[in-house]
Symmetry: C2
Amino acid sequence: MSMAATGSIPVDDVPTIHCAIQALGLPKVFLPKARIYGEDEPARNLYQVISGAVRIYRVLANGQRQISAFCLPGDFFGLGVGEKNAFSAEAIAELRVLIIKRSTLIALAGEDNEIFRQLWTLIGQELNRTQEHMLLFGMRAPERIAAFLLQMAERLSCHNSVPLPMSRQDIADYLGLTIETVSRQFTHLERTAMIGRATARLIVVHNRLALSQQHPGRTLPT
Amino acid sequence: MSMAATGSIPVDDVPTIHCAIQALGLPKVFLPKARIYGEDEPARNLYQVISGAVRIYRVLANGQRQISAFCLPGDFFGLGVGEKNAFSAEAIAELRVLIIKRSTLIALAGEDNEIFRQLWTLIGQELNRTQEHMLLFGMRAPERIAAFLLQMAERLSCHNSVPLPMSRQDIADYLGLTIETVSRQFTHLERTAMIGRATARLIVVHNRLALSQQHPGRTLPT
DNA sequence: CGACCATTTGATATGGATCAAGCGATGTGG
DNA sequence: CCACATCGCTTGATCCATATCAAATGGTCG
């Protein structure tokens, strides 16, 4: 869905940015909890996750931390327009990334307008994801949790065992809930046999259908 | 802020898309409540608001309507990537827009990569706005309302009298509150002399500073 | 083994939803 | 020109989902 073509132009034919970051990207490793960049710092780089996970977040004046996105292997981050970062980024688990300078991309784009088209596509996908994320806030806690688990299962492309890289606090801050509510919802899903918990971070999805019915994401065509 | 340059390349020098839609855009008028496009319809056009206002929304399976954005004069909408619209769009007040086909833009972009760069910039601004919108859901009702009023005052670039084009229900569906809560918060702001109400839709901001202190948008640098 | 941190569980409080009614504009027909 | 219907908004009373406060449990590492 998120990889759909744009207008009549297919998206995946010439993955220039992918090539560029593969060829020119600088590999770097971050330890868990390491800061990758801070809000309001100059936005200089584009990152692609190789392994591990990243949280993108902002801390509000009331102390609330809102996590805007989790970045998983394959994901890009640092895509925004503007001179400064709008959010901070931190490694969750041990993280390997490739880094390419924006200026390098811009220079490449001078020769090949494919780069800008792909920046448009990539940022458009991020917009789609952010909009879907926003819709979660119109749902109740059980539905948010179900949607989150299904999303993680899909994005980690795992069959039924979902290894969550993030803590309960991270999940809570992503979903706009408290850690206690998250925990209770997991317990409830386990008691109703929709999921199992191998460990706290390793969830087994037993009943994907029931989970997906929890969560009213889109109007069903009548 | 949202018009900041990107990297070392200034954004506003060659407003190609603006020129294109000025020169080639088809003017069209919509009556209040008229549908502009529906979710899942093919996304064929880019729109710019001349006058009036638009709501961009989706209806969830539970009946909740989440408004993702209001578009005001000058704003673009229909920018997404992907073949289909992710949301529906409706006129709120009587609406005048300019319409340009995506295919026309894409064709222009073949000659001039400025188009794609600007699509990147425009969608990036929409992403910024959506992310800021998401942060509202981490706040309490009074703060959401205050942030909303300040945002409207700024976007409508009015001094103190803010003519809201949308209904209380629209505001509620944008902020994730009920119409009753919205109404009560307005009443409270009036009682504490932060705002006045000339009519229900015409708000006078008396104390911008106090309003902005209600709402903990960003961590203040210590 | 013991300290530490993440997670779970329990008891209580509360902000905003829900249910229900009243009010004020705007418009229509008699 | 006025009764009356309609629609959007406000106000009041009560309820409930989730937050908050508090404590127990469990897993990991020295």
